[in-house]
């Protein structure tokens, strides 16, 4: 996939990063976490769950059911070892791309 949209694929990276920082979270907590961390980014909620499920399928994250204090069943996601590895490489790639773009923007 040589020409991929630079922004495409950033949602999984964010999910990985958040899960890595904060530990197991449910889907809604992930959206609020992203939104509270940034004023500019807003999660397209319609794409969050498909993304989560796709990542689960790829074994980057793992889901299990937890019960909350008010006895609701919640689906909670956490990072797998593969996810952690993926996060490292994605993060590195992401920083280098943005750095390169920034470089170009500055010197063009």
């Amino acid at each position: 996939m040589p020409k991929q949209d630079a922004l495409q694929g950033s949602l999984p990276l964010l999910i990985l990063k958040i899960l890595d920082r904060r530990g197991p979270l449910h889907g809604y907590a992930i959206t609020t976490r992203i939104e509270s961390a940034s004023d500019l980014l807003r999660v397209e909620e319609g794409s969050l769950y498909p993304a989560l499920h796709r990542m689960e399928e790829a074994r980057l994250i793992r889901a299990r059911w937890r019960t909350t204090e008010n006895r609701r069943r919640v689906r909670v996601y956490e990072l797998t070892a593969a996810g952690r590895k993926q996060l490292q490489s994605d993060e590195r790639r992401w920083t280098s791309i943005t750095a390169a773009i920034a470089q170009v923007l500055k010197e063009a």
């Binding site: 796709r54 399928e57 689906r75």
Partner: protein
């Protein structure tokens, strides 16, 4: 998610959907709670939350597809789509299914045959524990001077060996007769195939009765036993219609036996290829004289105790056997064995052989058909490759026709794996449909082949009914062929770049990857036609062999004394006189051995000496004959005279030799009156005087070149073969002759009779079978090559319609258009022919034993198949080429 979970998901979609709903519901409630906390009214908050999340239903579906067995669902979709495609391209699908079904069916039939003959374990429990015994005869005891295994032992030897290894194995004694025995079954005469089993055999084997009981220890004893018989299940069905009233019926050979049971359906004997009809108690049924120390007539079988190996058994058995043999030779030293030969004979090594698939010895049947079956399997495998490459061609052509579809799907984001999956499913569908027909084909083909294996008087028995093994084989072939013909088109289709494919779909004139599968298909076809051609040429040469005699209307009668232990001789003069005087009989004579008897050769003493010359070591064939033999057989007469009646009667030293003998030993000399001596193992010379010279004939089989032959006067008609040339060879005539013979010679009985022409046919069983199948397979291979070429070239020509139209419009000549279209096929054809010929030559060495009068490197062996392929190619390619050339440029330009 593991495959198991996916499968579970696929079958419980509602549960997953419910999970999803629950997850999304939680999200909504959290979001609306947060919004409400920010001051929104409750209803407003819920609506906003819902809006933000997007349409739930769609969401659920995307997620469901990802989570649950999207893969399984897509499988189902591809399956239905595949069937639609098969139907849409139904002409191609039909061609593909037909060629695959034929090839897989032929291969499955060949597998059934090989399995039944050589691979399938005996249908008894733990057949891996079974073994049989043999000893290795020294070279001087075998016709070709090579050590050979011999598996017959005497009853005392059996008793000794059984007792020697009593602690580690159970031995039993058995035997079978390779010829049919005339018997009286339930009051009417019938030829049966007999087997012998001692009292423990069935129990050790673990064979159960289907009815009644089997032979038990107290039935079988040399002096006091029970005259009982056990019949095989097929015999029971055939002869008694499976009636339970069979128990108590009588079978008479020399004695009369009462039927006490039927063996289990699966057990048909210990020799693959031979069906034993009736089992008799081994020692009871035998004449007591056959149980002597030196009468070696029985097979020894056994079952190892658990944990014991065959190797452990050998040493004690060998020790006991050698001791006994030495003892026997000490008491009665053989007259004709001295020195080294005696020692070699006394120290025969014993072998304990694996008998899990039936007798370890290559029965005559196995020996005769092992190689032909292997050749059959080889040709079937090649045919399967032809069919696979043919189907690959069709699939590729179809795939290119669908380039646009594939390109569209790729650009719409279909994963490459999905496209491969879909192409493979279409291939698998073809293969499965073909395999169904293939199994049906094999079910009919295999028995038809079996029916051709045995001589008419002794049909072969191989159980080739479809079983789990053959079905598994067919299924495996189906999978294998799917991969063989499906992978190339699948990868090609999936690797198309959308842009190029979308463009190329309209204008590509190249046939691309098809060129290679086409070359492969033509190569395999050439190999099939080449190998088949060798077999066909061999068969043609064999049936064109000049026999040197005329088999027309000659009937052979095997004579035997009524009392099998009678030593009385009978010179047969009266018998011959009586028969010759019958109306309708043209001539009659006696020989010691059936002409065209197959591979049994009477080899004369190995040394010959002409006066004044050194001893020459040869093995001339010796054929004892009566008067009138050369007339009866219509053999060309060269010089001298026939035997005189008095020469037959007394021990005369007159001999008649054949032309090959004269050429070999008496070149350029007058042979009549020549005297020579033959010297046997005992070193004594025997005087011989040549009184006549006859033309050379094929006496033993069609393959052997004429050998030096010495005809001697035949003294004993009691164990001879009577050949009668009659006015006709009708059944009535033969039955009448048989009657006449038995009334003319009351001490003799006719054991068997056969037409000399059938006898000759019987020497060609495997060759004829292979020739028929080879002819069929090469026709199929040629047809497939033609279909493949036609399909591809036709397709290419249609694609180039526009281009051709332009060329014609610009003034190109029709002939150059034809050449243009032909050019597409010339490279694959040339390449295929080169490859196929090289491969065929490499494989031809497996056929050498079956070939006759033809070499793989002969001009015609090579030229004929290439010419056939070229003709088929031309026939396939010319029509589309001519059609293209005849195109009206205006119509062509409007094409597409």
């Amino acid at each position: 998610m593991s495959l198991l979970t996916r499968l579970a998901n696929a079958f419980r979609p509602s549960r997953t959907a419910a999970d999803l709903d629950e997850e999304l519901e939680f999200h909504l409630s959290q979001r609306s709670a947060d919004l409400a906390a920010q001051g929104l009214p409750r209803e407003e908050a819920e609506r906003a939350a819902r809006l933000q999340l997007g349409p739930q239903l769609r969401l659920r579906e995307t997620s469901h597809e990802i989570k649950s067995a999207a893969w399984l669902e897509s499988l189902g979709r591809d399956f239905r789509f595949g069937l639609r495609m098969l139907w849409k391209f139904r002409a191609q699908s039909f061609a593909a299914v037909a060629s695959l079904a034929l090839a897989i069916g032929a291969s499955t039939a060949a597998f059934s045959l090989i399995d039944a003959l050589m691979l399938r374990p005996l249908p008894v429990k733990n057949s891996g524990q079974l073994f049989d015994l043999a000893r290795v005869f020294p070279p001087f005891m075998s016709p070709n001077n090579k050590p050979r295994e011999f598996d017959m032992f005497s009853y005392p030897q059996f008793q000794l060996l059984r007792d020697t290894v009593r602690d580690s194995a159970n031995l039993f004694m058995t035997g079978y007769s390779a010829a049919v025995a005339p018997a009286t079954v339930d009051g009417s005469p019938e030829n049966i195939r007999t087997g012998y089993m001692d009292g423990y055999g069935f129990e050790i084997l673990g064979v159960k009765p289907a009815l009644g009981r089997l032979i038990q220890p107290d039935d079988d004893s040399p002096s006091k036993g029970h005259f009982v018989a056990v019949i095989s299940y097929p015999f029971w069905k055939r002869r008694f219609g499976g009636s339970p009233a069979v128990l108590g019926r009588k079978i008479t050979l020399k004695d009369t036996f009462e039927i006490i049971g039927v063996t289990a359906p699966s057990f048909t004997g210990l020799q693959p290829g031979y069906l034993t009809d009736v089992w008799f108690p081994a020692t009871l049924a035998a004449d007591p004289r056959l149980l002597a120390e030196d009468v070696e007539l029985y097979n020894i079988w056994g079952r190892l105790d658990p944990g014991v190996t065959r190797a452990q058994l050998r040493a004690p058995l060998q020790g006991a056997f050698t001791n006994a043999l030495h003892e026997r030779l000490r008491i009665s030293p053989p007259r004709n064995l001295t020195g080294d030969r005696l020692k070699q004979f006394a120290d025969q090594p014993l072998v304990v052989r694996d008998a899990s698939t039936g007798s370890a010895r290559d029965s005559l049947f196995r020996a005769q058909f092992r190689r032909p079956f292997e050749i059959l399997a080889l040709i079937c495998a090649l045919l399967l490759l032809v069919a696979c490459s043919n189907v690959a061609n069709l699939m590729l052509a179809r795939a290119s026709a669908r380039d646009a579809e594939m390109a569209l799907r790729t650009s719409l984001g279909a994963a490459r794996s999905r496209l491969i999956q879909q192409m493979l499913i279409e291939s698998a569908q073809l293969a499965v449909i073909a395999t169904v027909f293939a199994v049906i084909f094999a079910v009919f083909a295999a028995p038809a082949i079996v029916a051709r294996l045995g001589p008419s008087e002794f049909p072969a028995f191989l159980d080739v009914a479809p079983d789990a093994r053959s079905l598994a084989f067919a299924a495996a072939l189906s999978v294998l062929s799917t991969l063989l013909f499906g992978l190339v088109p699948a990868f090609r289709a999936s690797s198309r770049q959308p842009e190029t494919a979308l463009k190329a779909a309209q204008h590509s004139a190249r046939i691309g990857a098809i060129r290679w599968t086409l070359a492969a298909q033509i190569g395999f076809s050439v190999a099939v036609v080449f190998l088949s051609g060798l077999l066909l040429l061999s068969f043609k040469n064999l049936i064109a062999v000049d026999l040197g005699f005329s088999p027309r209307n000659v009937v052979l009668f095997d004579l035997a004394p009524r009392d099998p232990f009678s030593q009385a001789h009978d010179d047969g003069t009266k018998l011959l006189e009586r028969i010759r005087n019958l109306s309708g009989v043209q001539s009659a004579s006696l020989t010691a051995q059936r002409p065209m008897g197959g591979d049994m050769v009477w080899i004369m003493t190995p040394v010959i000496n002409f006066a004044g010359r050194a001893n020459e070591i040869i093995r001339p064939r010796m054929i004892p004959i009566s008067t009138g033999f050369f007339d009866a057989m219509k053999i060309r007469w060269i010089a001298g005279r026939d035997f005189l009646p008095e020469e037959i009667a007394r021990d005369s030293d007159s001999v008649i030799v054949n032309q090959t003998f004269v050429e070999t030993f008496l070149a350029g000399r007058n042979s009549l009156g020549q005297v020579f001596h033959t010297i046997g193992d005992d070193g004594k010379p025997v005087r011989r005087e040549i009184v006549g010279v006859a033309g050379s004939i094929h006496y033993n089989n069609l393959r052997e070149p004429d050998e030096p032959t010495i005809y001697t006067p035949l003294h004993d008609a009691a164990r001879a073969v009577l050949s009668v040339r009659a006015a006709s060879n009708s059944r009535v005539m033969i039955a009448w002759l048989r009657q006449q013979i038995e009334s003319a010679a009351p001490t003799l009985s006719v054991r068997n009779n056969i037409l000399l022409s059938s006898q000759i046919d019987n020497t060609l069983l495997s060759e004829r079978l292979l020739a028929i199948l080879a002819g069929f397979f090469s026709a199929v291979a040629l047809l497939l090559a033609g279909v493949g070429l036609y399909g591809v070239i036709n397709y290419a020509a249609i694609r180039r319609t526009r281009e051709i139209g332009i060329r014609i419009a610009l003034g190109a000549r029709r002939s150059s258009v034809v050449r243009l279209v032909l050019a597409d096929s010339s490279l694959p054809v040339a390449f295929g022919i080169a490859l196929g010929t090289a491969g065929g030559l490499a494989l031809a060495r497996y056929l050498v034993s079956q070939l006759f009068g033809v070499q793989p490197t002969d001009f015609w062996s090579l030229a004929a198949p290439i010419a056939c392929i070229l003709a088929a190619a031309l026939a396939a390619v010319l029509p589309p080429a001519l059609r293209a050339a005849a195109a009206d440029p205006l119509v062509a330009l409007r094409h597409e």
